[in-house]
């Protein structure tokens, strides 16, 4: 269906008032040789039934995660989102409103952002959080730039446990901005001596926990080592639910905390839209990128909320802005906030415990298969297994058997020599039967070779 309400009479009346003979007169500034004479070679507009038919057919060519036993994480996680969340975010006033630049008629959005910021700060153990970034990977890139501004140094050290695509994003930004990025080798055991890599030129060290391989990292000594050299600790997480069970980066003295919030409130959506979380200490707030909602009063003295500290941003500072970012991830941040409100602390701890229990159970089952070993001593809902056969082949074989078994590390790091590693996640949506099915399929695959 098209949303073009004018009819011929409307158009004629409008042209008359304008004083133009025809619509082409209003396009007269387009150089004549560059005007398109006819509509482009795109099919003509389709009716709603046909659009549905086409897109449904397209969607039907995919294997939805919920239709099979599903154990893939590696930066995006499948969780149960309560039915209420999706209904609330589809309310017109949330879905179709704009950035709250006119706060008198946007208190809905602004109050939600204020609540979201408070939730993120509490979750990460930090003093202040912004109103969200695009996603965890770009938040990580921005955190590094912020650390450079705060320390006036330009070298970042990236842990070997950082999600490879997050490292790629940071490396891309660093190369373009002529900053130095030191990427430590991928570290499946979480055994690297990152403190030894920090020197007087380091602006920040970037450490993920739970890391890409599922290891839990003790950030406190790393923070101490960084601070001793005048550097900052940027702590990263890709699984927000982990903060319901694992010590917060703020407790462990991180200076900037960034992460992916998709796990809470947001569907997988084949990679986006997601929601970047960004938190720091109050003294650093003027160097923090992104939007910020703050509390104030209106002319009647009533408590109100408004976007504030805007002079950090591009629309005022232009080339001197902390970032070029303009949007936040509004609706995804709303979904995160609603879900977290429905969970509350009690619910979050409970679902985190269920995640951990599922992963512990699965690790036990997989570790019992001859030839398969679990690399992690401590983990939350994700761990890494080593297999006797090429991991990518195994994953494809499992898929043919109707199991999504995890991420072959080589897919994100083809030259790391880690072709026998799979990163496996188990969340609260997996059942004991699912986990049993995975273990059986993996055993069969290893015994019998490829599924035909």
């Amino acid at each position: 269906m098209r949303y073009l309400p004018f009819d011929a009479t409307d158009r004629a009346q409008m042209l008359t008032r304008i004083g133009a003979p025809d619509i082409d007169a209003l396009f007269a500034d387009i150089p004549p040789a560059k005007r398109l004479a006819a509509p482009l070679d795109l099919s003509n507009g389709l009716g709603e039934i046909e659009v549905e038919r086409r897109l449904t057919r397209m969607a039907g060519r995919n294997v939805a995660a919920g239709s099979v036993p599903f154990f893939l994480g590696a930066g995006a996680y499948r969780h149960h989102v309560p039915a209420t969340v999706d209904h609330l975010i589809q309310r017109s006033e949330f879905l179709t409103s704009y950035t709250p630049y006119q706060p008198e008629i946007a208190q809905g959005t602004l109050q939600v952002l204020f609540e979201f910021q408070t939730q993120v700060a509490a979750l990460t153990g930090m003093e202040v959080a912004n109103a969200s970034m695009y996603d965890g990977s770009t938040a990580c890139g921005e955190a590094i730039l912020m650390a450079h501004r705060l320390t006036r140094r330009r070298k970042a050290v990236l842990s070997g446990g950082l999600h490879p695509q997050y490292s790629d994003v940071a490396a891309t930004l660093g190369a373009m901005a002529n900053d130095e990025i030191v990427r430590l080798p991928l570290d499946p055991r979480g055994a690297e001596d990152i403190a030894a890599q920090i020197d007087d030129e380091t602006s920040c060290v970037v450490v993920q926990s739970p890391d890409f391989f599922g290891n839990l990292r003790d950030l406190e000594p790393i923070a101490a080592a960084a601070h001793a050299k005048g550097a900052l600790l940027v702590a990263v997480f890709t699984e927000a639910v982990s903060l319901g069970a694992v010590r917060s980066p703020g407790e462990m003295d991180a200076d900037i905390v960034v992460g992916e919030g998709q796990s809470i409130g947001n569907a997988l959506n084949f990679g986006g839209p997601y929601v970047g979380l960004f938190a720091t200490r109050l003294k650093n707030v003027r160097q923090m990128p992104g939007r910020l909602a703050g509390e104030t009063v209106d002319a009647d003295g009533r408590r109100s909320f408004v976007l504030t500290l805007s002079t950090r941003e591009q629309h005022i500072r232009r080339e001197k802005a902390t970032s070029n970012i303009c949007t936040n991830s509004g609706l995804c941040a709303l979904a995160f906030s609603i879900h977290l409100t429905l969970l509350g602390e009690t619910g979050l701890r409970r679902v985190a415990a269920l995640n951990h229990a599922a992963a512990v159970d699965l690790a036990e089952r997989l570790g019992a298969i001859p030839g398969v070993s679990v690399l992690n001593d401590a983990f939350f809902n994700e761990f890494t297994i080593r297999t006797p056969r090429d991991a990518a082949e195994l994953i494809d074989d499992l898929a043919a058997r109707g199991i999504i078994g995890g991420l072959p590390v080589a897919r994100l790091a083809p030259r790391a020599g880690l072709d026998d590693l799979i990163v496996v996640a188990a969340t609260e949506v997996s059942t004991p039967a699912d986990r049993q099915a995975y273990a059986e399929a993996l055993a069969q695959s290893l015994q019998g070779g490829r599924q035909k």
Binding site: L36, E52, S97, A267
Partner: protein, 514 residues
Amino acid sequence: MNNQGRPTRPNAGDAPRRGTFTGNRALDIEEALIFETGRLDATGVDFEAPTPFASKLGAHARDGAIGLPGLTEPEAVRHYVRLSRNNYSIDAGLYPLGSCTMKHNPRLNEKMARLPGFADLHPLQPIATVQGALELIDSLAHALLTLTGMSAVAMSPKAGAHGELCGMMTIKAALAARDEDKTRTVVLVPDSAHGTNPATAALIGFSVRAVPAEADGVVSAEAVRAALAPDVAAIMLTNPNTCGLFERSIVEIADAVHAAGAYFYCDGANFNAVMGKTRPGDLGVDAMHINLHKTFSTPHGGGGPGAGPVVLSERLAPFAPAPSIVRNGPSLSLAEHSEGTQAFGRMSAFHGQVGMFVRALSYILSHGGDGLRQAAEDAVLAANYVRASLVDLMSAPFGDRPCMHEALFDDRWLKDTGLTTLDFAKAMIDEGYHPMTVYFPLVVHGAMLIEPTESESKASLDLFIMTLRDLAMSALAGERERFVAAPVAAPRRRLDETRAARQPTLRWAKPAPA
């Protein structure tokens, strides 16, 4: 920098306080924060604790309160429904925000995006299990290339500003391939540019050189030639520009830029005015981001998410970032690594805002080539209709001449009233309208930029016009009270933004005991 200031603190209220016990006013309900109404032990989900098991968290277990209150489902629904009612939205009324293209957000888009085959799909699933998703990305990419006449498209940028960054990084990579990235370090940017343009350039080490516009609001090829030099990497132009005018010298400008060995970045925020009428590729553009949340109807969601795919010319195509879609006969796959290729790197994890791609493709399929062209024509028609209906009362900085999809006024017509653009905007709120974009672009004083879009009916436009005329005549007649205290009917009166900046309170904190 933007140094156009304005008042940010209201005069103390002289309107009567609410006269009810609750402070509510019928359907307008005051709603506290979740931190004030929720409880740490409340929850709106029904998980059971797991049966006992041996934890593998070791010393990493989190103890101590986190500080997150919960609400039950009915409480949560009430909280968010009440909050939502304090928001203006396109569904409720016309949003004349210039440069934002607030067209109707189709509900079919939402239904399609929620098909499990799209929504419940992990980006790193085996390629064989996601062929439909790759087809979706490829179909949208193809449509964007057809509309723009360009050679390649980077689909991964997460928003318009991210797309600008991607486009400028592609240009920098192309310069590096010619060994000119250390010498070409300047980007030409008109003063009317959106703040993201210079911010983007500065992020990756370019310095910005201003290009002046002519008195008629557009950039001349002479001015560009005068600014071009061997140190120029690129020009960043918006077309139509932020004053709502088509840059009619664009082809000569592109030629001059290319002849000088530089690249042409086009900010595609205003593509709604020209889609189907001309193609950026034909005009000489090398890179252009497209805001799917503007031109292609994906919802604004209170500030995001957006999506900013970047179309690229043939000379820039090789440098596009990972990932890209690769066709192997009947099936599709992803090239996810930039090592060993000319791709400059990666913009973000995974593949882009695929959820927004579904919505944009649904919109494009619904309109088709003919419908999209009609949309551009109607958008331009609507903006000119509004302009022609107001120009006798409100001052237009570049005279009574046609605009494209948005009409620009300045505040000269308010000079003798003692009222400002801000006052005028706030009075619109009481009349039931979200104000137009104000104080942007910076090149005119007290700018008012109106973009009605093509999805408003003529009746809706007529009421909007009559309301603005009534307000304008009221202002000119000296009826100050209607303006200086406005808005008086909204859920809040004017806010003390000075206080918010001087004493930032950026999160809820437990009040100290009395």
